[in-house]
Each structure stands twice: as C-alpha cells, then as structure tokens.
Amino acid sequence: MKKDIILAGVGGQGILSIAAIIGHAAVETGLYLKQAEVHGMSQRGGDVQSNLRLSDKPIASDLIPHGKADMILSVEPMESLRYLPFLSPEGWVVTNTKPYINIPDYPNEEDLMAEIGKLPHHVALDAESIAAELGTIKAANIVMLGAASPFLDLEYEKIKNAIVFFFGRKGQDLVDLNLKALEAGREFAQKNMN
C-alpha cells in the first residue's frame, strides 16, 4: 500500500490539521509516514502545501516525486490546480470550491470551475456550505477530509478514531459535530465522483 497525498491551500487555512488527522489514522494502522510541511514566510497568506506520504514499506524521500501523487486534497479551488505536475494520471483531485481571494489577479470563478471540471478524476464540493448546515463553517476542513476518505485506503473507523483523538479534549459536542462533518463529506464524494 502506498498513498502519496498533496494537501494544498493558503497559509492559515489549516491544512496541517487535516494532515495530522490522516497521519494519526495511518500510524494507528501501522503504516510508515512522512509529512513535509511549509513553515515560515509562506504561512503569511501565501500558497502552502504539505506532502503526506503513507506506505506499508519504509519511505525514502520526504517529497513526493513529480507525477506520482495519488491525490491532491485542496481546501481552495485555485490551489488544487497548482500542484497538477505532481499528480499521477490516475490520481484524484478533491477540492473545496470556495475561493480564498487575497490577490488582485484571482482568476474568474467560472473559468476556474470549468478548469477543475476538465480534470479526469475529481470531487469538488462547497465544504463551507456543508459545514454551515451542520452548524459551523469551522468544520469545513473535516468535510474535506471526509470527501477524501474514500480514496485514502485507510479504514474509515481509523479516521473516525483519529477525529475522536483530536477533538476529544474539546468535548463530546465537538467530536459529534466533526464526525457528522466527516460523514457529510464522505457521502458527497461517494455520490459525486467525477
């Protein structure tokens, strides 16, 4: 088993918390893991990514080779396209559709969605809206994790356990809310795989 995942977003959007949850589930499964993060200057509103590598064999490189990523999981639509040179031809793009606009030359949204629509394997969802229906847009990243979950080759139970582990000390309400968010994202992906 090998899963190479590029997590993408804008500095401050919290992609590392998604990485931490997947990482926890992977370690609980007994997999090897390497996860390269971006710290420093780019965290100030710039484009950020994390290379998350899971495998049942020892992993050599901290960076995913070009053309080998199994998934790009992006919490921002334009950022989902920035790392396409890393995606394998069979790889999936799972992306949020809510733009994060902090630059003057952000592309036209319709063009952007059309570009994402052209990708051979993708799931695109408005994670904020789904999270808002459940009660808080703060759970949007967990909705995205849920949408990615069918492609992770990790037992769903293990991912749920990781959610419990991370939100447990913040109270049962938050655990339940995030489990619902996870489930909502997963359901969406299962119905809308393109």
Binding site: V10, G11, G23, V27, Y32, L33, K34, Q35, A36, E37, V38, H39, G40, M41, S42, Q43, R44, G45, G46, D47, N51, I59, A60, S61, D62, L63, I64, P65, H66, G67, M78, E79, L81, R82, L84, P85, F86, L87, N102, I103, P104, D105, Y106, P107, N108, D111, L112, E115
Partner: protein, 540 residues
Amino acid sequence: MQKLLLLGDEAIAQAAIDAGLSGIYAYPGTPSTEITQYVISSKEAKEKGIVATWTANEKTSAEAALGMSYAGKRAMTCMKHVGLNVAADAFINSSITGANGGIIFVVADDPSMHSSQNEQDSRFYGKFAMIPILEPTDQQEAYDMVHYGFDLSERFQVPVMMRITTRLAHSRAGVQRKSSRKPNELKLPENLKQFILLPAIARKQYKVLLENQVHFEQEAENSTYNTYTPGNDKSMGIIACGLAHNYLMENYPERDIPYPVVKVSQYPAPEEMIRKLYDECESILVLEEGYPLVEELLKGLLNKGKKIKGRLDGSIPRDGELNPAIVGKALGFDIPELTPIPSLVSNRPPSLCKGCSHIDSYNGLNEALEKYGKGRVFADIGCYTLGALAPYDAINTCVDMGASITMAKGAADAGLKPSVAVIGDSTFTHSGITGLLDAVNDKSSITVFILDNATTGMTGGQPSSALGKIEDICRGLGVEEEHIRIIKPLSKKHEENLAVIREELEYDGVSVIIPRRECIQTLNKRMREKFKAKAQEEKS
C-alpha cells in the same frame, strides 16, 4: 518505547533532552526555530531543569552555549544558515578553544530560499572551522546523531556541527527514542587556560585541532552513518550526501541500485571510501544538497582524471534544492511528461496579515515620502520585509539582520536626505543597536522606524528581547528625547501619525519613530487563550 511522530527539528530537540542536555540557546530563524521551541515547550525538559531560552541573537546564543560547555555540561545552539554568519566569530574560535562539556551547533540551511535571503551551505563553515560535521539523512538519524554528536564532542573536546536542510527540518516521520541519560555534573576544564585565546595559547590549541584532523577523518571512515554499498555496474559510482541519499533511494523503489554507492552523513568526507569508489568506477555522480562541496574535493583544482558529474558539470542544477526528479534525471531515468499548471493559476505570494500594524506604518511612511520620491527606505528582516510587495512597494533594501540602520546611515553620509531605516523590535535588539550608536555618534541624519509589534513575528511569535526596553535603549545610546516619537499605527490615527513622520523626516539628526501595536497573530492567540481560560473557570 513507542515511536514518536516528529519533525526533523523536533527529533533533534527530543534527542538532546534524552542525551543529557543542560542548556539550549537560539534566536528564532526558519527552518531551525522548532528545535528550541520544542525544548522550551517540553514538560520533560522543564522537569529536568534544562535551560531553554531565546537570546538576543545567534552570537549571544553560541557564546552562552560555549560557556555551558566550559562549565562541563552539554549544550546546544541552533540557528538558520545565515544565523551562523552572525555567530561566526564565536563558532570559528570555539574550534580553537575546544569544548569541555559536549557542544553541538545545529545549523539549518534553506536551499531554494523558501524563507531566506541566500542558500549558503554551512558545511563550508564546518570545514573552515575544521570540526566534525554530521548531516543526517532522515529524522531517525537526526535523533541518533545527537547522542553520537555529544559523545564525539566530549571525546575529542571539540564542538560538533549538525547540518540539516529545510526538508528534513520541516518533515515529520516516526522516530524511535533511546533511553534517557543524565546530564553532566558541573566540572571546570582540566586546563583552566584552555579557553584563553591569547596568541601563545591559541597557537598551541590550534595545533591540537590540527593534530585531531586525522582522528576526525578516522571517525568519519568508521562511522556507521557513512556507508559503502557495492554494486555490479561500475560505469558509475554514486556519492550521496545527507538528504540526497533519500532521493537516490526514491528512484529505486525496490532499492536495487546497480551502482556502488557511498553515503556520506559525517565529515570530513570519508576519504578511503571515496577513493575506493573512484578507483573502481568509470565515472562518479555526486548528489549533495547545497553547494558542490564533495564534488569540488573530487575534482580538485585541475579537474584531471575521471568524469565527475554533479552541480558543476550541469548534471544537477547549480542552485536550488534537490528532489526525486532532479536526481532521477541525473541517474539517466526518463522523467514522464507532466500535467502542466493551468495558465489561469496566479501566483499567491505571502502578504501582511489583515489588521497588521505594519500596514498602517507603511501607509503613513509612503504618504510622507511622496514629496521626496522613491528609493530611500532601508528595511530589514522580518514580516515587514513583505512591504516590498504590492500594494505597499514601500522598501528598497533587505540584506541582513540590522543592515537597515547602518545602510541608511551610509546613504545619509553620502547625502541622501531623508534617509529612512525600517526595522522590527526583535531585529533591533538582535543587531540594530550598535548601528544606531554609530549614527548617534556621527550625528547622521536618519529617521529610524522601529516597528514594535512586541514579538518575533515571522517565525511564529517568540518573545522579543526588546519588549518594554526600546525607548530606554534609544535614550541610552544618545538619541535626543524629543526625537523619540511613539505612534499608534491605526488607520484612524493616520493624519496624526503622518504629521509626526513628516516632522521627523525634516529633522537634521537621528530621530526614532516607534509605531507600537501588538502583532495581530499574537493578539488573537492571547485572546483565544484568555477565552479558553475563562471558559475553564466558569466550568469549575
């Protein structure tokens, strides 16, 4: 013991705690920050009484660590590559004094300049100082090498350098801990003159260092971190240093490399191993993250003999960090055609946070400078360097820590008026104070903005050494009281601030303007914690 999922930086920190560390000193700098941050936040380190502290700059860090080594205890000092420039005086001379308690200089290089102004390779500093250098390949090796490094340092009474790069510093993997050992007892050097670098003593000490070179070479030859792996295809031999070894492995998923490989993770480079490789192979490929240190060793001045491939002959790009594709190409693999990035994807450079005080400071400065024209703002290193980008376009230089004030002085001496320096509070106490003293002594006509956001912002909000001291420092240096102006950088105070800035730009002498407002990130963090504490209180 269970494996811990740690960043390379954190693995080094945990290892130091486990290896009997007594003190760690650093100034924050990407990608080295998380080492010291980890020890400062560690409950275990606190219980063990380990001193873990941010210092004014890398030089003071290195010297404090050397002092701890003098007293017989294990010390670590951590910095980014350019931080070693600041600490260089202490670093190079510490190789002559030697160590008493084990001391490791951890230096984190940033090839590709993700968060830096250059990509200098610290191994050259280590070689220059003639001390052993450790260059871990992965997180586990980084952990293991700290124990080994302290032992090496104590055995040969010499400081040891550990060199890492961004990808190891900021990448997480499972790390197996060793059992923890006790710190050293306080114990002065046997020779109480060891650390006095008077010429007569320094000459002797230097000879000791020179005599030790052969031992350092032998250590590298026998080190378990340097390996020779045979291969049947002798058309090429490969030398892979540190992290580069991972990228080599990545290109052979079954690990069936046909060529002989020398892995180098400890320097001086293992000469015998490399000679053997050179003798038996038709050509050599050198893979190293950073400058071509080993490649130059191999080529020598006249470049006679076999073909050496690497950064110097173009097999590997001359600049930037390595990755699996670059190494794959050098190995002769076809790199598949890649999906291009769609043309509609725009660049998204980092930017000042919404609500950041620097925005208001730059808005005021820009407007006040309109009548004089562009090109007169000397800036420094920190979040405010982002003032170089649109829409501010507010600064003209960023060179090294503290250079804003001294460069503004030089330009003012040349006749540029007004000449403006922009420096952050933490950078000011790091390296700005002495420059301000120069300007005061020469009565240079400069306007210095000390942007006081009460933190070291760019690296994640570590405490600033300048906190609550800036006016006193300026007064003490001799800046006139009436030209130390404190303003509150807020848009509603724009007109008021503008008047102050305009006045001081006209002043013929040293004036200091201190825009003071807390960093929006640390403020938010503080509020969140306050809110949490309050909620906790209500619960109980």
